[in-house]
Each structure stands twice: as structure tokens, then as C-alpha cells.
């Protein structure tokens, strides 16, 4: 009912800067979509175009099946949660939540019912008479959510709503927002620069850079099958390792060579790259210290610059063949800094990217 469709949308500011050159995006009804990317990638602009806070230079925006380009924000049946919460400082929590309904001339008793219902879900009942100044960060955040909820919008827009909270609260609110989404059964569009938030909350994630959608897929697919270097590097923490490797013909297949390692990859897509350098992407957890992974050509013996013990596992910062690598190994197999360690690479999980186009060759 309230899917969102961007069709060939362009956004250029008055000063001539184009932030979004050509956006095509389809968000399904009731879906939780996360827009993620580094700052300045156009994700917030995209969200604000849905809200009607930014005009659309070219192209069409549909919410449901109505073209929304010229509809003012209040008539789009959307609600938005801002990064700074944007609570009206001179109004009580109750007034903040009731304000939109009041403007829409909703009857008083209905406003009362809706505000109290939302306050109950969010645990805000005891604070309804307080001013925002007297609330903690987490409570303010919930008021902002409540203000959006009471309007029964078809679309929820959230602009980095958790970035002003401390780490612990953030995790808590993350699950609360996910729960809310299931409870309300409406479309959520969520903007963040934090890939962890994106991975844990989104049904689908839209990774953006320079106003262009890099990949739009489920979290698992983004992680397992990144379509280019940017997505591969952006999703996952610690970051995926990128290693320059030379492609060689080896028997019927090919092998990727760097340092001592010669990793067999039998994929015809590598044919045009023989003798050239490609970028080889390996996630930190695909280096294994456990002996059962040992094989031929996939072993590296690297010097440990630094180790970070995390308890169950250890992050090792390696220096191998002049390249910096990060690996994540079970604590009992880990070694300490200034030692050497022998690790096996899980060859089935390797990603190969074109050095020039940065697109994936095979994975």
C-alpha cells in the first residue's frame, strides 16, 4: 500500500551541486530499509526528499501509488524522527506528541487516546507532563518516536536517530525500533552511517556513495556477495582485507599470487586478467589458525604488529609481504605481538575485484 518508488530522481541544489544524480529505488510496503553510506553520500537528502523537506529537481517520487513531488510534507502521511530529536522545547512531552494531531484538528479525546497509547508502548507515561529539557537522551529519543507514532503514518522516516546516544543505549534502542517496526507493520526508512545498525535492523540495506546506489540487498547478501570494493569495505567490522595479487594461469585453473601464497581459484572470469594485478578481498574471519584448514598454497606466515585480545577471540594486526592485514582468530590459537603466526586462508570465501573498475570479478 505504501511502498516508495524513486524514478530517475535527480537532486541539484541552488548552488549547482548535484548530490543525487539519478536515483532509482523501490521500497516495498511494510519493509524496513536502511540507507547507509559515508557522510555526504546523499542518504539524508534521499530521506528528506521522501519527507518533502527537499524539492526534487527531476524525476518522480511515488508513495503508495500517488506522485508526491508537489505534495507538502504534512500531506504525505509520513512521520520523521530527527537526529537531534527536534522536540519542541517549550512544550511538554504530551504536547509534543499531540501537536500534529492538534494541527490536523483531531478531536480532543481521540488525541488523548492516541498519545496515551503511544506513551504506554514506549514507557513514557510517567513523563508526559515534563518538558524535553528534563528528560534523558534515551527518553527524548522515545518521545521523538512517540510523536511519529501517534500520527499513524504510512511511512516512518528515521534520520540517524541513534547517533546521539551512548553505546549501551544505542543497542537497546536498536532492538526497540526493530520491535516497533514489527508491531506497527508500516514502512520504515532508516538513515545511518553506522553499518552495524544497518546490518542488525534492515530487511534490506541500500548502500550509497556519491549519490549513487552501490548495492541494494539483504544484509546477508551484502556481506557475502558485495558487488564492488566500496561495499565490501563498508560492510563488516573489522573491515575486509584488500590485498593486491597477480593472476597466474595454473593448469586448467588460475591462481592468485601474493607473497608466498598461491591461491587456486577455478573461475573462468579470471581469464582476461592473467598477468595483471587484481584486488583480493578476504574477511578477517576467513584466516584460520586452526590446523584443519591447512592446505596447499593458502598458507601465510605473517608477523604480528599488534594484537587486541577480546576474550573469546583476538584481533591480530599483521604485516605480510608489505601489506597490512587484520584477522580474527579464536583466542586459544592466537599469538601475541612481535611473534610470527601461520594462518590458512579459506579459499572458498575469497572475493576478487577489478583494480580499475573496482567491480567484483568472482566470489
Amino acid at each position: 500500500m505504501a511502498g516508495i518508488i524513486f524514478k530517475d530522481v535527480e537532486k541539484t541544489y541552488d548552488n549547482g551541486v548535484t548530490v543525487v544524480p539519478d536515483l532509482n529505488l523501490e521500497i516495498k510496503d511494510k519493509e524496513f530499509v536502511v540507507l547507509v553510506g559515508p557522510s555526504g553520500c546523499g542518504k539524508s537528502t534521499t530521506l528528506r526528499m521522501i519527507a518533502g523537506l527537499e524539492s526534487i529537481t527531476k524525476g518522480d517520487l511515488f508513495i503508495g501509488d500517488q506522485r508526491m513531488n508537489a505534495v507538502p510534507p504534512k500531506d504525505r502521511n509520513i512521520a520523521m524522527v530527527f537526529q537531534s530529536y527536534a522536540l519542541y522545547p517549550h512544550m511538554s512531552v504530551y504536547k509534543n506528541m499531540a501537536f500534529a494531531l492538534e494541527l490536523a484538528k483531531t478531536p480532543k479525546d481521540e488525541i488523548d487516546k492516541k498519545v496515551h497509547a503511544a506513551a504506554e508502548i514506549l514507557g513514557l507515561e510517567p513523563y508526559l507532563d515534563r518538558k524535553p529539557k528534563a528528560l534523558s537522551g534515551g527518553q527524548r529519543q522515545r518521545v521523538a518516536l512517540g510523536r511519529a507514532m501517534v500520527r499513524n503514518p504510512e511511512v516512518f522516516l528515521l534520520d540517524e536517530p541513534l547517533s546521539n546516544l551512548d553505546a549501551k543505549l544505542r543497542t537497546e534502542m536498536r532492538s526497540q525500533i526493530s520491535k516497533l517496526h514489527k508491531q506497527l507493520g508500516t514502512t520504515f526508512v532508516y538513515v545511518t552511517h553506522d553499518q552495524t545498525e544497518a546490518m542488525t535492523m534492515g530487511d534490506r540495506i541500500c548502500v550509497m556513495k556519491d549519490g549513487i546506489i552501490q548495492q541494494f540487498d539483504t544484509p546477508q547478501n551484502l556481506y557475502d556477495y558485495p558487488c564492488n570494493l566500496f561495499v565490501a569495505g563498508f560492510i563488516g567490522s573489522p573491515q575486509m582485507n584488500f590485498i593486491d595479487a597477480t593472476v597466474e594461469k595454473a593448469g586448467s585453473g588460475y591462481q592468485l599470487c601474493f607473497g608466498e601464497a598461491k591461491i587456486k581459484v577455478d573461475n573462468e572470469a579470471l581469464a582476461p586478467y592473467v598477468g595483471k594485478t587484481v584486488v583480493c578481498g578476504i574477511r578477517p574471519e576467513d584466516f584460520h589458525a586452526e590446523p584443519q584448514f591447512a592446505g596447499e598454497g593458502n598458507m601465510i606466515d605473517a608477523y604480528i604488529d599488534l594484537d587486541e585480545m577480546m576474550g573469546s577471540e583476538s584481533y591480530l594486526y599483521l604485516n605480510y609481504a608489505g601489506q597490512k592485514l587484520i584477522t580474527r582468530v579464536p583466542a586459544r590459537y592466537a599469538k601475541r605481538a612481535d611473534e610470527n603466526i601461520t594462518l590458512a586462508i579459506d579459499t572458498s570465501k575469497i572475493h576478487v575485484f577489478d583494480k580499475e573498475t573496482e567491480l567484483v570479478i568472482c566470489q
Binding site: D14, R48, A51, G52, L53, P72, P73, K74, I78, A79, M80, F82, Q83, S84, A86, L87, Y88, P89, H90, F99, A100, L103, A104, R147
Partner: protein, 280 residues
Amino acid sequence: MDKKPSHARTVIAYIVLIILTFLCLFFFYILLINCTRSHQQIQHGFSFLPGSSFVKNFNNVIHDAKLPVLSGIKNSLIVSACCAALATYFSTLTAYGLYAYNFKLKKPAFIFIMLILVMPTQVSAMGFINVITKMGMINTLYPLILPSVAAPAVFYFMYSYMQSSLPLELIEAARIDGCNEFKTFNRIVLPIMKPAIAVQAIFAFVQNWNNYFIPALVLQENSKRTLPILIAMLRSADFLKFDMGKVYMLITIAIVPIIIVYIALSRYIVAGVALGGVKE
């Protein structure tokens, strides 16, 4: 360790402060004393104790046929209150227009207002009289009130205050909640700007209450005149024949209401003065 020099410095500081306090308060003390004394008592010499002629002096001033004090107070109040209202409302509106919206002439408009920030109105007084005469507004209170719509200094204060206290997201939230632009301004922006508006309203009121140069040029009829002009008239009257009790009483009427308001609101006013200066 260095308690001694600090101690000496403290004493000097207090002495200077007490002298300055004396200078600031003493004249008003004499004023208040003398407005309660009769002409004869005042002529007789100075006294530190108040007399008993306060009511008499007050009545004399109020009922002086040549000096329309009551209408003077009324005119002064009308002009000052209207100026305070117009200056704060429209300066906030202007500041909001330049703060919250993006448009082509935004930067030139801002630079222009900053350029005329401290331009005195006296330099265009001659043309001003000409223009308002042609508009038929000479000898009315309008030319004293209407120009307050363009008050660059108030604008600048409001603009600085918005930068620190009015996040743009709030305005956007109001838009999504269903406010049109005027409603956003009146229901969201104005309440948030209340502290700044209060401070500037007081300053605008006082400034216009005390204003003498332009009103003296504009107002020619006795019944239209404001208090400062009446005081000037008193000065040009034959002074020796004048009832000194009345002179002091009129000065008291012109000054004391402002001082009472000031003492009541001093905390905010002093803070407001300080804010006006913090410019980085």
C-alpha cells in the same frame, strides 16, 4: 603564598567600586530627595532627608497647564510599547527569514543589514522630515513607531540567538507535523525566541522612551509631545521663576519607571547586554 598583594588589590578594587557606585547612585538620591521637597526647601539648601511635598509636587506637575505631562506619559508609553513590539516581532521575522530559508538574495541581504548595523538615523533626519511631511505623518506618532520595523541591531541579536538556540530540524519537524510557514513562526519559533525577545523588547522600549532628537523634530503640537521634549521645554522656560520641586518631579517621572523595571529585571538585562557583545 601571594596573599598579601592580592589582599591590597582587593581593597583598592573595593574602594574604586564604592566610589563608582556612589557616583552612579548619588545623583538619583538627590533627585529622589528633592522631588519630595517644596521649592522653598530646595532653595534653602540641600538635605539628606526627604521632605513632605511629594504629593503636592506631583499634582503640580500633572496639572500644569503649559506642560501636558499626562499626555506626554501616554504618548511616550504608546511610542515605546509599539516600537518594542514592532522591532522585536519584525526583527525576529527578518532573522528567521535569513536563517531558515535558502534563496538567491540571502547573502546580499545579510551583508546589507550588517553594513547598516550601526548607522545612526540622524544622518538622514533631514530627508526623513521631508518624506513624512509628504506622507502627511508630520506631527503624528506614526513616524516614530513605524521605522522600528527595520531595526538592524535587534535583527543581529535575534540572528545570533537563533544560531545558538533554534536548530533547523525543529522547523522541519513542524513542517512535517502540519504547520504552514507562518504557523511555524508563530507557534514554534516565537516561543523559543521568548528570552531574546524579552531582552530586546526592554532595550527597544527604553531607547524609544528616552529618544529626543527625532521626536523633537516630528512633534510640534503640545498634546502630541513625548516626555523628553517636555523636559527640554522645561529647560528653555525661564528657569529662575520655575518651581524646582516641579522640575525634580518631572525628571523623576521620566526616569523612575524605567529604573523600577530595570531593577526588577536586572538579571536578564545585564545578561542581555553581555550577550550582545559576545561576537567571535
